[in-house]
Amino acid sequence: MSFLNPLAILIGAVGLSLPLVVHWLTKPRPTPLPLSTIWFVHEAIRQRRSRHRLRDLLVLLLRMLAIALIALAIARPMMRRDVVIDTSNSQINVARVLIVDVSQSMAAGRGGRQPLERARSIADKYISSDQDLVVGVVFAAARPEVVFQQLSSNFSALRQSIRNVATLPQSADAMAAINQAAVWLGETDDQMKRELVVISDFQRSDWGAVRFDALPSDTKIQLESVALTGPDNLAVLAVRTPDRISAGEPFQCEVELGNFSALERPIRCRLKLGQLNKTIEKTLPPGQSTVTFPVEIASTGWQSGSVELDSAADDLPADDIRPLAIEVSPAAKVILLSGQNPQARPSSSYYLTRAIQQISGDLADARMSPQKFSLDRARSADALVLDHPGRLERGLLKRLADLMRRGTGMIYFVSELADGVNLSGLQQELGAGMQMPVRFVPPARGRPRRDLAIAEISRRERPFEVFGDALDLALAPLRFGGGLATELTDQSLQDRILGSLTDQSAWLTMTDCGGGRLAIVNADLEQSNLAVQPAFLPLVGELVGSVLPAGGSGSETTCGLPMVRLLPSDISIEDDIVARPDEDWPTIASGYGSWEASGSGMVWNWAAPPERGVYEAVLDGRPRFKVAVTTPASESDLSSLQSGSLIAQGQSKDRIGFRDTGDQRENKDRWWNWLLVACVLGLVCEICTLRIFRT
């Protein structure tokens, strides 16, 4: 326990003698008086003396207690574990590391003063030239940044760097900062006293899982909290769009808003996307809420904009705007790759051709034979559907694998043994980039696959979630035949088996392969009744949608974290491609990363996007790729950790101290109120004592 005004304790100690002095001074001087009946007085006093002495003692003690309590209340005791680092001792060699949190939450301000400003003044006290001291400063952001690469006694430079530091739109990687401190402190001489000072708002999302185990065991840890009291913050937490947005096709843009206060707040949410400008007004309840903008974009290409939140001033205005970049694609082009005779009716390829023509609207160019495989046509397709392709040559499998790596989706209807061989060859081509949950094997002899019903499905996943409550009704009449038996692979991801049949074989699996996705339907449409059921067309449509390359909100990354994005396949390393911010966002002096060639094509590699905004890769003056760099949503929740949970993370309770120097301090140190209450109770007790012992 420490005291805010320790001088009051001294004054209180002197004041404790006050009741004694008053008692002595006000003690009545007896008037001498002869009395003939003195033995009556003796008897009366014998009867009353013990009672009156008890009363006098009680009253005296209660008065002394009242003064002691008043002195304690003025001294303002702080019961929490407070300070473990002594900055006044200049005789000891000290190695001290300061971790200053510069994450976005440190910019939350009220009354014109931010936590970072308080952090600066606190940090300045720990860099004292009076001590025999070496100091290292780590700024905790998404990546820890150091002022010098080692501990230094250049205090002026350290102070200057702390004065100049600004908050970053990033979260703080607390463990990385502590590990950096652990490296420095571990390198110091054992004769030196090791100290770590962490100045932060101790935001729950950043510091909740932090541990101090990496530090040398004799390190004293001082936690200085500059957190706000009762943060009152509104924020745009996320913007969600469909994985693929087609031109002219309406879609829902869901905006997740956060109200991190205790009261409802009226807000106006504005979506700006290209020429589109929409506003929704709403009263936001505490917690997280979602507003939905119905959007339809006629033109294809990249669209950028932002979602903004207009409200009364909150603690952190920086998170009231969130950049947005989406790609509007043309209608999906799907090509059926089948070795069946196109004129054979009915056949499985006939059913699929009709379905694909309905989905893509392309009536002429929906089918291709493996023998007449055209790479250009295949590249122009967003998805390939393989049905009865027969045994595929290795070269074709290699090209198909290459297309999948670049993002082309594939649906494979497995109906015969050659399909199992093709899939095995495809897996060999893709290597570790493709991990199918099952392996296809010939069915057991004497157990023909026919009249199989669906046993289990993943209702909440595509392609089934679109059916909603009608799913059971739609799938109940389905009976399947053909296909192959399945075995789980050694490293099977069973959650990627989206449906299984009554013979325990997998019916529908979904596998990611490089940039593309592979859906495998284990059934022969000719031996199944799926093609003649009402569920056929929507099921195929959803399957195509689930394997199409993602666009929309997929082009979002987080400030401070590495960004690696595959550019469109038609861009090569020889192209003169330029990265720049979108017209609504400022330029960045440190650059926009680099271009690198990879097996899948050109890659935009940006180690740490420092600022939020929309950035684009431009080729020949036309944006070919855009990415929205956003701040982590977790930074908007300004609730901080309690001292107890932080101290508990220290290995030894004696080596860690927590001091709240934020505006919470005034509110948390309520002991003086209780002391005053106790003082009043003491005075009430005195009155009661006087009434009980009254004469």
């Binding site: 003939s36 009946t37 033995w39 009556f40 009353r48």
Partner: protein, 305 residues
């Protein structure tokens, strides 16, 4: 207090007592006096007033035989006469330290119980002497017992009043011893009047002494004297009470013990009253706030003969 002081004592105010001189001190008990007087003597016969006759019985004094009655009736009767004698009154005065309570100072006993006692006792000796009765005095004091045998001579009375005027209160109460001493000295029946505050512990010695007089046929009168300031403690924050008969000092706040004190004092007065009445005494309680002449009047009215 007085406009015309006596020659012997300034405590005697004869002018104020003119109204009381017609009320003679008497007793309804048969007493034994030395001389003839107006009080009924215990002895019958002699030259007193005829009161009755009775049959002769052997051994009767033949000088009292009623010869005329014997001649008329032939039966022997003896004439009975009631002797009248003078009263012998002994005043026993308590001169302990507590009787000095209420005095203005150590050398000025005005306002004290002793002063009141001096006025009262002087008045009583004056009134008793007016009736040609004998009056004596016994003083109970720690420094020594003082005894003056009852006498009726004017000179004796002046000496007595002089002694009363010179009384000094000090020391512990010796009332029991004084009564015992007087009992041994006094042979004839008379009246014993004790004037005291009866602040004596224990009271049994006093009661025993009173009972002895009462058993011998004396009339015993107890005048219980109380000072108003004794009944309640003085008002004030704190006092250091000093005992008047050698008790140790006591510091206290009167407010703390006022009620208990008053209870104890009332209990003591009730105890004294019950004890003295039980011992056959005529109990009178007077406050020093009561003028002594009123007290004398209250005392004499039911006794005037």
């Amino acid at each position: 207090m007085s406009s015309q002081k006596s020659e012997t004592s300034h405590y005697l105010d004869t002018a104020s007592m003119l109204g009381l001189e017609t009320m003679r001190f008497s007793t309804k008990r048969r007493i034994e006096g030395t001389f003839s007087g107006r009080h009924v003597a215990r002895r019958q016969g002699g030259a007193g007033q005829y009161i009755d006759s009775r049959e002769y019985s052997p051994g009767d004094d033949l000088r009292r035989l009623d010869w005329p009655a014997m001649g008329r009736t032939g039966r022997a009767y003896v004439r009975l006469y009631q002797d009248e004698t003078n009263l012998s009154c002994l005043l026993t005065i308590d001169a302990s330290g507590s009787m000095y309570f209420g005095a203005r100072s150590k050398f000025d006993d005005r306002g004290s119980k002793l002063e009141w006692t001096k006025y009262f006792a002087t008045a009583m000796t004056h009134l008793i002497a007016l009736g040609r009765d004998q009056v004596g005095m016994s003083v109970a004091a720690e420094h020594g017992l003082q005894f003056i045998a009852p006498a009726a001579a004017p000179r004796q009375i002046r000496i007595l009043q002089h002694e009363i005027a010179g009384l000094v209160a000090s020391g512990r109460t010796q009332l029991g011893e004084s009564l015992d001493d007087s009992f041994l000295r006094m042979r004839r029946r008379g009246v014993m009047m004790v004037i005291s505050d009866f602040l004596v512990q224990p009271l049994d010695d006093v009661l025993r002494g009173m009972r002895k007089f009462r058993a011998r046929g004396w009339e015993t009168i107890a005048v219980h004297l109380v000072h108003p300031d004794e009944e309640v403690l003085p008002k004030g924050v704190a006092f250091r009470f000093s005992g008047m008969e050698g008790e140790p000092n006591v510091d206290c706040r009167p407010g703390d013990i006022r009620n208990v004190y008053q209870q104890r004092f009332s209990q003591h007065c009730a105890h004294v009253r019950d004890g003295l009445l039980g011992a056959g005494c005529d109990y009178r309680r007077f406050s020093t706030a009561t003028p002594y002449l009123d007290a004398v009047r209250q005392f004499l009215v039911p006794r005037r003969g």
